[in-house]
Structures are given as C-alpha cells and as structure tokens.
C-alpha cells in the first residue's frame, strides 16, 4: 500500500485491500476473529493475513488444523453463540470437505429451528484457475454455492469491493460466502484511503454501452473489460455488468441493461453445464424475452478438468478473444 500523488488516494493490491478489510473488521468489533489454515504463523496461503497475527494475537488470528469440516462447523457454532467469525477456507477446492457443514448446518439452521437461531458467519475462499495448479486446485464452484437458499454469495472483483464488502457481510444475520479469485490478488489499483464498506446486493455497470450486455463476475471481470475494449475498436459498444453478488442476483440491473442493448453474453468461469450463466440466461428469458434480438450467449470453462500446461489451461477457461467472438456472434458479425 502506498500513498499516491493525489491526496487521499492510495495505491494497493487486491490482497492488501482484503487484508485491510480484515484488519478494519477486527478493530471495529471484538467479536470478530479470523480462523483458517495457515492464516496466522504462515501469514495466509495468499499472504492475505500477513502481519495480522502480530497485531491481533493468536486467539483472534487462529491457525486451524486441516479440518475443514471441523473448523467450519466450529465457526458456525461460534456465530450461533454470539461471535462474528471469519472462516477462511484456503480455496473452494477444499471447501468441499466442509460442504456438509455449509449446506446442512449454516444454510439451514435458521429454517430448521423456526427462526430461533441464525448463523452470522462469513466464509472467505480463494477460487479460480490460471496458475497451472491442475485439476484439483483450479475449481470455480461459486455457482454451486449460489444454488443454496439460506446463504449469500459474493464475488468482489475490484479493489473497492475487496476492501468494502467484508464489513457489510459481517453485519448480515445469515451466512455470507466471499469468493476471491486467485488471479486478482496481485492486481494493483487505487482506492480512497478512507474507503469503507460497500453494499453487497447490487450489480455494477462497469462500462456503459449500447450494443450488447456482457454480464460477468469475479476474475472474469477484467477479461470482459479487455474484450469490451477490443470490441470498441470494431465499433461495437459493449456494456459490462459486474454482478458482485451471485446470490441474490441483481435482476433489475441485468434486465435494465438487456432491455437497452437487446443482446447478452454471460461470462462465467464455472463449467458450462448447469452453470450460473445458465441461471442468468434463464432469468433473462423469463423477464426480458421480448427485448431480445439474438440468442443469449455464454462463455464458460470447457467441459474438462482444468489441465496443467498453460496453453491448455488458457484454452479451458474464458479469455477475452472468446468473449469478443461471442459478442460478435450475438450481433450477427463474425
């Protein structure tokens, strides 16, 4: 994090922004603590929590054993008993070991107890492919989690969101999952020095346009923005929507955009079949069918476990040229 020439503006990485968010939360609310594998002494697998152990101590920056189910369940119990834990599951890949606790306890306790108990828990996870980590370390399962009633699912793609979503999520009386794409941690940018909490229920129009709506989230946002720039060179004016919240989805923003542009392409790093893109596409059919001038397109990961060599990995996940091609197809241009 560094100061810039502009007063009140700092330059930092996405990683820094997340760390600041955690630090801010722990300072503001003594019920808050961070718990996960290697978050304390190691400083976090992605160095997000580096330095926090020294600042807050081992009770509040808590290393856990490799017991995803155990410590996620513990986070749930602590939240039910009045704490505000932040559980860090190292990546979405390992979260599968905690899926039972997330789905069968966190998402359902309020309902099963007839509203007597809620679970005000935040779970952060790294997600996504791109670092040649191969099949077991490259999943994007945000869409699976967005399927579950009882939780909220966020995908901060910008520095402002990485910095500001956590506090708002901690105020929620229900579980919130925050997905941080691994390719974003090194991303550098600028935010206000006093940047604070942001809303967690609205999508954002990152680029206004007339010809086509490109709808995306998380790590794919920047590839989509790049695609929009490429399209502009071909006189195609794309509107880019950053979903920010995957559950609930901000239908109003999506439909307003599609009503204006009459075309949509959804960019989603999950596998194509049964993806979140499919859900969004269906919602557009339900709510904006009559506005469409073209079939809805989607750019997703190919139906293959993510391969190790970079050329294959790159071909497997969404990239700007594929997004451009899909957009042009929607406009009847090749």
């Amino acid at each position: 994090m560094t100061a810039t020439a502009q007063p009140g503006i700092i330059e930092l990485t996405y990683r820094d922004a997340v760390r600041e968010a955690i630090r801010d939360a722990l300072r503001r609310d003594d019920r808050t603590f961070l718990m996960g594998e290697d978050v304390a002494s190691y400083g976090g697998c992605y160095a997000v929590s580096k330095g926090l152990l020294a600042e807050f101590g081992p009770a509040r920056i808590r290393d856990t054993p490799l017991s995803e189910s155990g410590f996620t369940g513990a986070g749930i119990g602590a939240a039910m008993a009045g704490m505000r834990p932040i559980v860090e599951l190292m990546t979405v890949n390992f979260s599968l070991l905690a899926l039972d606790q997330i789905l069968n306890t966190a998402a359902t306790v309020r309902h099963m107890s007839g509203n007597q108990f809620g679970v005000p828990l935040v779970i952060r996870m790294a997600t996504g492919a791109g670092r040649q980590l191969a099949a077991q370390h490259s999943h994007s399962l945000e869409g699976w989690y967005a399927h579950i009633p009882g939780i909220k699912v966020l995908a901060p793609a910008t520095l402002a969101d990485a910095r500001g979503m956590l506090w708002t999520a901690l105020q929620e009386p229900d579980p919130v999952l925050i997905f941080e794409n691994v390719m974003l941690y090194n991303m550098t940018g600028q935010i206000a020095a006093d940047a604070g909490p942001v809303d967690i229920d609205k999508a954002a129009v990152r680029r206004s346009g007339r010809d086509i709506s490109l709808i995306t989230y998380g790590g794919s946002l920047w590839k989509t923005m790049e695609a929009a720039t490429m399209l502009a060179a071909e006189k195609i004016d794309a509107e880019v929507i950053d979903l920010r919240s995957l559950r609930p989805l901000d239908d109003a923003t999506i439909m307003t955009s599609v009503t204006k542009t009459r075309r949509a392409v959804i960019v989603d790093e999950g596998w194509r079949s049964g993806s979140l893109a499919a859900e969004i596409g269906m919602r557009i059919v339900e709510q904006a069918f009559w506005e469409l001038d073209a079939p809805i397109g989607r750019v997703c990961s190919e139906e293959v476990p993510i391969p190790y060599p970079s050329h294959l990995e790159n071909a497997a996940i969404p990239q700007a040229p594929r997004i451009v091609a899909a957009a042009k197809a929607a406009l009847g241009r090749s």
Partner: protein, 330 residues
C-alpha cells in the same frame, strides 16, 4: 455457599425424580410410536427406549447457561432439558405451534430459551457445532459447558476426529457424551470400528475420559457430575462413553435383521427403568401409590400434549419461504 457438585445426592425425592423423568421419556416415546403408526407423525422418527438413563443422568446436572447439542434421537434430551412436551409433540406433527415452528419435525427440535441447539439429521454433524459453541464461550470467558450427545456411529465420521482434536487443541469446554448403543443403524460396532473401545479414542486426543454403564442412571449422574465439574474447572474437554442399548428398532421402519431377538430380550431385563425401579422397590424407596401417581401425572401430561398437537394449526402456505433469511423489520 458452595455446593459439592461432585457427589450425587440420592435422596428419595431425587431418586423419584430420576425415575419419573425416565418413565416420562418412555411414555412419550411410546405415544409417539402409536401416533406414528396412525400417520400423525411422518418422515423419520427415532425412539430412545432403553437409553433414557443417559439423558436423565447427564442433563439435570447442567446449568441453564450450559448448551446442549444432540442427534436425531433427541426427544428425551429435549424433554429432560425442559422443552415443553406440548411444543415437542406439536413440532412432530408439523404444526406451527411446535418448538421449531413446525419446520423441522422429529429430527430438528430446537429451543433457544433452554439453549437446546437441536436435533441433527447428519450423523456427526453436531460435533463441530458443539466445538464452535464452546469456542465462543471460551473466547468470551463465559462459564458455560457445551454438552454434545452423539452415537457410536458418529465415531466413524471424520468430523468426530476433527472436533475432538480441535476441542483438545484449543482447550474448549465441551463434554462429549457418546451414547454407545452398539449399533449404528443396522451396523454393529465391531463391523464399523477397528477399535471398539470408544473411550480409548478420546485418549488419543489427550481428552480425559470415562466409560460408564449406560443402563445405570445413578452411575451416569455421578459420572456426569465429575465430568461437568472437570470441564468447568479446567476449561478443557471431557469424554464420557455411556454403554447403553436401544430396545426399539433404529427407526420405525426397521426390520432389525441385524440383531436377534434373544439379544434384545436380554437387554430388556436390564434396561434402566426396570433396573432403577426394581432397586428402589427392593430398598423400599418407592411405594406403589407413588408409582401410580407418577404414571397418572405422566399420562395426563402426554394426553395434554396430544390434545395440544391435535389442536395445533398448519402454517399458511403463503409463508413458505420464511425463515430462509433473517427477516428485516419493515
């Protein structure tokens, strides 16, 4: 004034109370069986017959501020803890007057006012939850114990090991109570565990432990007092293995092909109510008219619960999606 919580006080009133609580559970479960055959209660239902001594021995030892996590076989635990029989039965009927607003049913009894953190239909699912509740108390400096009831089947789940490890590692005030009834649904313990002496597993996590005759309510109470006292004193977890037996089938729809009738009969002769009542009678600590009075009181309570449940109302379908998320004040 300090009370020595270690020693069980087996005064006559207390003994009668222990017996009454066990009979109360037995009669309630019996009525549930009847209602289930009449399709008033639906879905899955798991009855506690034969295991009453565990809930009755452990739970009254706890304070109101202590927390309880249980399994899908939790009717007895809820009743002993003080969740009203009326709301428990209404819950099993699915009526909105039930303790979980009718949303949960037999396997999901919850009650905030008595710190009863449910019923759970996932075997082993409550163990990490209990660790978390204790973690919160530990971090806040609350003097509270979390008791986690689970069966021998849960011992096979990874969550069992993760939870014991965490509780010991972080020194959390959890009392783990394993109700070992020798069968995980239809699987005998020896088919499921390489080490069938469950108590020994706690030792691997450096958790103090004890095994106790689950059919002896007095022994259980004594062990529970020792255990709870230890947890309060040390803040560290404790493990109690109660060796008990399930007289009825796993659930209502179970042909019990996995155990033979002679075995069940043998256990029936040494089940906790038979044993304790027999002992009280032999020691002239109970008179027949007291037994009749207990029976009459319990029968009246059960009848009132049935009437309450029958008179209960169905939640309107328009409210279907409530309780998924917290409701914002308008």
């Amino acid at each position: 004034m300090s009370t020595n919580l270690d020693k069980p006080r087996l005064s006559r009133p207390h003994a009668l109370e222990l017996l009454k609580q066990m009979i109360r559970i037995r009669r309630f479960e019996d009525k549930c069986a009847e209602l289930y055959t009449q399709e008033k209660i639906r879905g899955f239902m798991h009855l506690y017959d034969g295991e009453e001594a565990v809930a009755v021995g452990v739970i009254p030892v706890l304070m109101p501020r202590d927390r309880i996590v249980a399994t899908y076989r939790e009717h007895g635990h809820a009743l002993v803890r003080g969740v009203p029989m009326t709301t428990v039965l209404a819950e099993m009927y699915g009526k909105q007057e039930g303790c979980s607003h009718g949303r949960g049913g037999s396997m999901h009894l919850f009650d905030r006012s008595t710190n009863f953190y449910g019923g759970n239909a996932i075997v082993g699912g409550g163990l990490p939850l209990s660790v978390g509740l204790a973690l919160a108390d530990h971090m806040r400096g609350n003097d509270a114990v979390t008791v986690c009831f689970f069966g021998d089947g849960a011992v096979a789940e990874g969550e069992f090991h993760e939870s014991l490890n965490l509780a010991a590692l972080w020194k959390l005030p959890v009392l783990f109570v394993c109700e070992n009834n020798l069968y995980g649904m239809g699987t005998a313990l020896a088919i499921s565990e390489s080490e069938t002496d469950i108590e020994r597993k706690a030792a691997c996590y450096r958790i103090a432990s004890e095994a106790v005759d689950g059919m002896d309510v007095v022994a259980i109470e004594a062990a529970a007092r020792r255990a709870v006292h230890a947890v309060r004193e040390t803040g560290a977890p404790y493990f109690l293995e109660c060796r008990t037996y399930r007289l009825r089938a796993h659930s209502m729809f179970d042909a019990q092909l996995y155990r033979d009738k002679a075995e069940v009969e043998a256990w029936r002769h040494k089940e906790p109510i038979v044993r304790f009542q027999g002992w009280l009678e032999a020691n002239h600590m109970i008179h027949p008219d007291e037994l009749a009075r207990i029976d009459a009181e319990i029968a009246a309570e059960v009848d009132a619960a049935v009437a309450f449940a029958e008179a209960g109302t169905w939640e309107p379908v328009e409210q279907l999606t409530r309780f998924t998320y917290a409701e914002r004040a308008a």
